[in-house]
């Protein structure tokens, strides 16, 4: 059913495109054979919007009276996507229901839409691994979260990406970045990052997250980068709204590296720092259009303002994205729906959105705010930069500044909601109450029944002060996030006297000298590599030993090894050394405990686990190195010489070692006999070599 629908819609669209003879009317017309998939991650895997997100998923929170998800879909429709897969996690039922009832499931939708449940995932990485396991991804796809607002024409970005892919299969990802000055309101303060880009190709060569709290003053780059790229730009002036074009390798890489969670911090950073994978990531820098992501309360505020002041044109309230909306634009960025009752003496100032069915009484002043539908606003109320959702009642003389008031809430007469506060669904606030800026009120009960917080909501009020459970555990991080993602910081002037904030700005100003070109190689110290190597050897050996002892699946053992290798950035030489140490150790344990004879022990272990080496030993040089490692290891063992002999025989049978390599090792490699132990342990080998050559001759003579 799904694909059929898509075909119809696509066909219709193509027809209209031809009629209008417009270039961007039907982007998919040009590349119909290359259907573009999009993955929408509906969950944010964060808690920043709590307590609002306790009841509604983030992507269904209203932004200017339209659910965030609509903006994402609108962007995907503009980008000419033909197939959308929505990954649902928290509140999956709500999201599914919303999509099923939306116009995107109609036959007129420009793409087919499908929801995929991934209830266990707790990070982007989990979701990607889930997708990989489900095998839904067939070609290059667009990866976005369900909370973006973007009007970038995508054909150019996509064409660039495809061109790069055609040239080089390893260009697995293109990140779309919007330029913006360091203190831009639409940038999420908590998630700033430094991108090191090649000036000519826009290849991203390094990614570093900025931890605002840690007073980061330096980043270290691999000196190798400077050999490969002549012109580098180190930039901190991007809004990174996590719009990526990914190849199918990306989910596969997530599966391979099961410790990757975050798409930027872990994945991009990981891929770029491990030179073994040889994958490259590019950036596409947008300078003309709008792209942003609602990832914190601060950006919620900023993006709302951007939508109202038409930076996101044509995605503005008066486009009436939802079928039943009737917004009309008026001078001064005021958007009003039909059926609003405004008292004669109330004032609606600029940059305001008012939804249908709302009544505003005498003397009320509304400035720069969003008011939802069916709200009742009393006399002499003052509302400034606030976000008031549907069905809210605000009684006379209340003052609301820079706060979010969710559906169904009631604010009592003469109450004051201070900047930064959040009043969640159906909370009732009594008269004459002052709600502090850092308070988040909710009615949603957690596990235990709490008593009503009468201090916060008043005698007749209804609601609790919300406390984040994670607050106690990670107070440092939490504080950082709260400080920098709260709604209010955006409105505070940047020169606020608040100490924690001014340290942030000082820190950022430090890095403000963006685009500093680095053309000479820097002498970065390569610190603590030795210790890394040792710890890798220890861990890898332990991992193989565990696998052997607990009789794991071969693939799992191999996967574990390769993850370790990437995490520690180790060489294959070390991987081999660790594997050999573990396996020979096992063999000698079997022999020493008299369980098996030397030959049987070697065969039993290597026949089972030998194939591990297939993923570690590739060419002849590797094989020689491998032989030397075995030889060296055997010097430490009882009956080392016979183990060596049988091991070589066994691995030769398995085709892991080739004759040529063995001969080169034996006759030509100087390291083979660098000390007495090495010579001694190899004493039995000539016999095997004799057998090898005679066998060869025999087969030749045949």
């Amino acid at each position: 059913m799904g694909p059929k629908k898509g075909g119809q819609a696509g066909g219709n669209k193509a027809k209209v495109g031809k009629q209008t003879a417009q270039q961007n009317a039907a982007p998919e017309e040009t590349d119909q054979d290359e259907r573009l998939q999009a993955i929408v991650l509906s969950d944010s895997y964060q808690t920043r919007f709590q307590p609002l997100t306790l009841e509604t998923p983030r992507c269904l929170l209203p932004l200017c009276n339209t659910p965030l998800l609509e903006y994402t879909f609108e962007f995907l429709a503009l980008a000419g996507v033909s197939e959308v897969i929505v990954v649902c996690c928290a509140h999956a039922d709500q999201i599914q229901e919303y999509i099923a009832n939306s116009r995107w499931s109609n036959p007129s939708s420009p793409f087919t839409i499908e929801t995929v449940l991934s209830p266990e995932s707790v990070s982007v990485g989990d979701a990607m691994r889930d997708l990989d396991a489900k095998g839904l991804i067939t070609s290059d796809f667009l990866l976005v979260s369900g909370d973006i607002v973007c009007n970038v024409p995508f054909d150019k970005v996509l064409a660039d990406h495809r061109q790069r892919r055609a040239k080089d299969k390893n260009a697995i990802m293109t990140m779309v970045l919007r330029e913006a000055s360091p203190f831009h309101r639409t940038r999420a303060r908590a998630e700033s990052a430094i991108f090191v880009l090649d000036e000519q190709t826009n290849q991203c060569v390094h990614y570093e997250e900025i931890k605002t709290r840690k007073h980061m003053k330096q980043i270290s780059l691999d000196p190798e980068i400077f050999n490969k790229h002549t012109d580098l730009a180190i930039r901190n002036d991007f809004i990174d709204c996590h719009i990526d074009i990914c190849s199918p390798d990306v989910p596969a890489l997530f599966t391979e590296n099961f410790d990757y969670n975050h798409i930027r911090k872990d994945f991009v950073h990981g891929i770029l720092t491990s030179d073994l994978l040889g994958k490259t990531i590019f950036a596409h820098i947008v300078t003309d259009n709008y792209a942003a992501r609602v990832r914190s309360l601060q950006t919620y505020d900023a993006v709302s303002k951007d939508v109202i002041s038409r930076w996101t044109y044509p995605i503005t309230p008066d486009s009436n994205l939802l079928a039943d909306q009737t917004f009309q634009y008026q001078r001064g960025h005021i958007y009003k729906e039909d059926g609003i009752v405004l008292a004669r003496s109330c004032r609606i100032n600029s940059c305001t959105v008012v939804g249908a069915g709302t009544a505003v009484d005498d003397g009320t002043v509304i400035t720069g705010s969003v008011i939802g539908r069916r709200c009742k606003i009393g006399k002499n109320v003052s509302i400034r930069s606030a976000y008031i959702w549907d069905d809210v009642t605000i009684e006379d003389d209340a003052i609301i500044e820079s706060a979010i008031i969710a559906n169904g809430a009631v604010i009592g007469a003469s109450s004051h909601v201070a900047p930064g506060a959040i009043v969640s669904y159906n909370v009732k606030i009594d008269t004459n109450i002052i709600v502090d800026g850092n308070k988040r009120l909710t009615k949603y009960l957690g596990e235990e029944d709490k008593k009503l917080d009468t201090d916060a909501v008043g005698e007749d009020g209804d609601g609790y002060v919300y406390e984040d459970a994670s607050e106690a555990e990670e107070d440092d991080d939490y504080e950082e996030i709260v400080n920098s993602s709260g709604l209010v910081y955006n409105m505070a002037s940047l020169n606020a006297s608040d100490t924690s904030f001014s340290t942030v700005s000082a820190d950022q100003a430090h890095r403000k000298s963006r685009r500093r070109r680095v053309s000479t190689a820097s002498n970065n110290t390569i610190a603590s590599e030795d210790s890394d190597e040792e710890s890798f050897l220890r861990e890898a050996q332990a991992s193989v030993e565990r696998a052997v002892a607990e009789n794991h699946d071969l693939d799992i053992a191999a996967l574990e090894l390769s993850t370790l290798r990437m995490a520690k950035n180790a060489q294959f030489h070390e991987v081999r050394a660790a594997t050999i140490a573990a396996l020979i150790g096992r063999i000698s344990h079997l022999i020493n405990s008299n369980t098996l004879k030397a030959r049987a022990a070697v065969e039993s272990v290597l026949n089972r686990w030998g194939p591990l080496f297939r993923r570690q030993v590739f060419d002849q040089a590797d094989q020689i190195d491998f032989l030397l490692l075995i030889q060296r290891d055997c010097t430490r063992r009882m009956q080392g010489s016979s183990i060596l002999l049988h091991a070589i025989n066994c691995l030769y049978d398995q085709d892991i070692l080739e004759e040529e390599a063995i001969l080169t090792w034996w006759y030509q490699d100087p390291q083979r006999k660098e000390d007495a132990d090495m010579v001694k342990v190899g004493e039995l080998v000539p016999r095997w070599l004799d057998w090898l050559t005679t066998a060869e001759e025999e087969s030749d003579s045949e």
């Binding site: 209209v16 000055s181 309101r185 930076w311 044109y313 009436n320």
Partner: protein, 372 residues
């Protein structure tokens, strides 16, 4: 049974088509009055050929409902509504013609008089009369079978007219532009003006000053100037600020427009009103080139509700965080040019004074369709 099923699926298909069209208009994937007009008429062609009706009023209501829906998708794009009204007028005319020829009494006054006057008289006296007539005459046997091909043919003609509009306007260029005249044009996004100038350049030698209309059309200006220059016309691109100082040397201002209102006023690219004022001060004639599909029966009672406000990012760079946060920016895409500022409108029907536009409106639209 089977036929009914096929009909339902066809209807569904059509509905999906309309929804997709609405979404595209909202997304500005179909943009510009010409493209919108063409797409609307093609959509109407599909709707009419799929529609089933027993009485002509049913079809009219159907189209009106559709028109309302399309119009509300983008209320500031008037071309869409214009085409709907044209088609409605066409349907009404066809049905009246059949009625007239069938029932003798209706034909007493109409055959002798030209269509324009019959239209006027319909509205004045016999309007309600005729309405009731067509209703009561609904029994008028199988008019639906006869009518459908005529209506489709009419829409087909409308489409052909749209496609050839620029040609017929361009052919009047020779009469407008003199040898060695200096022309100033502030609307480089107009295809009509481009073709007008190119066509005239085959016969005349003249100079064109292209105004840059910052911020919305700067790239288009450059393309426009390039095309003119390639055709061998002496072309100069000037900034918007230079217009007044250079106006004294200009022979004519040639304007493309987004829409023409019933009073002869225009909605043209932002900046056009100022340039027309400037031309008026210098007594320089202002000539407007427009296709009839841009002619709207609306009067500019509330000018602001007609002017679309565009992308703020074109005026101010979004990168500049401190400005974005503190400054309100508005980017209106069109200007209202009052009819007094315009000297002549060249349409595909010939040249008219802006004061005469209301007659063209009456000629092409029915009053009962003005509000959809």
């Amino acid at each position: 049974m089977l036929a009914a099923g096929a009909h339902i699926s066809k209807e569904k298909d059509l509905n999906a088509h309309i929804e997709a069209f609405v979404a595209q208009i909202k997304r500005r994937q179909i943009q510009g009055s010409y493209n919108v007009a063409l797409a609307t008429s093609q959509l109407l062609l599909r709707v009419v050929s799929a529609a089933r009706w027993t009485q002509i009023d049913q079809l009219v209501t159907q189209i009106k409902v559709l028109g309302k829906r399309l119009q509300s998708a983008q209320p500031r794009e008037l071309a869409c509504g214009n085409i709907i009204r044209r088609v409605l007028a066409l349907i009404r005319e066809e049905s009246e013609d059949t009625n007239d020829s069938e029932s003798g009494d209706g034909a007493i006054n109409s055959p002798l008089i030209t269509s324009m006057f019959s239209l006027l008289s319909t509205n004045d006296e016999c309007g309600p009369n005729r309405q009731s007539q067509s209703l009561s005459d609904g029994t008028g046997r199988s008019i639906k079978k006869d009518l459908k091909p005529y209506i489709i043919e009419g829409i087909q003609e409308l489409i052909d007219e749209l496609k050839s509009i620029d040609e017929s306007i361009a052919s009047m260029g020779v009469e407008m532009i003199h040898e060695n005249e200096t022309i100033l044009t502030p609307t480089p996004n107009s295809r009509t003006v481009l073709k007008f100038l190119l066509r005239t350049a085959q016969k005349r030698k003249f100079t064109v000053l292209v105004v840059e209309v910052f911020p919305n059309d700067v790239e288009k200006t450059h393309e426009f100037a390039l095309k003119l220059a390639e055709a061998g016309i002496e072309t100069t691109v000037i900034t918007d600020a230079m217009v007044y100082s250079i106006m004294g040397r200009v022979g004519k201002v040639i304007l493309g427009t987004h829409a023409v209102l019933a009073n002869g006023g225009l909605l043209a690219s932002a900046g056009a009103a100022m340039i027309c004022q400037c031309a008026n001060v210098h007594r320089t004639p202002v000539v407007v080139c427009t296709g009839l599909y841009k002619l709207s029966p609306m009067y500019p009672f509330d000018i602001e509700s007609l002017i679309e406000v565009g992308d703020t990012g074109k005026v101010l760079e979004f990168e500049d965080g401190s400005l974005v946060d503190k400054v309100n920016v508005v980017n209106p895409l069109y200007d209202y040019v009052p009819p007094e500022s315009v000297d002549l409108c060249i349409t595909n029907m010939g040249g008219y004074s802006p004061n005469f536009m209301y007659r063209l409106v009456l000629d092409h639209y029915r009053q009962e369709d003005t509000t959809l």
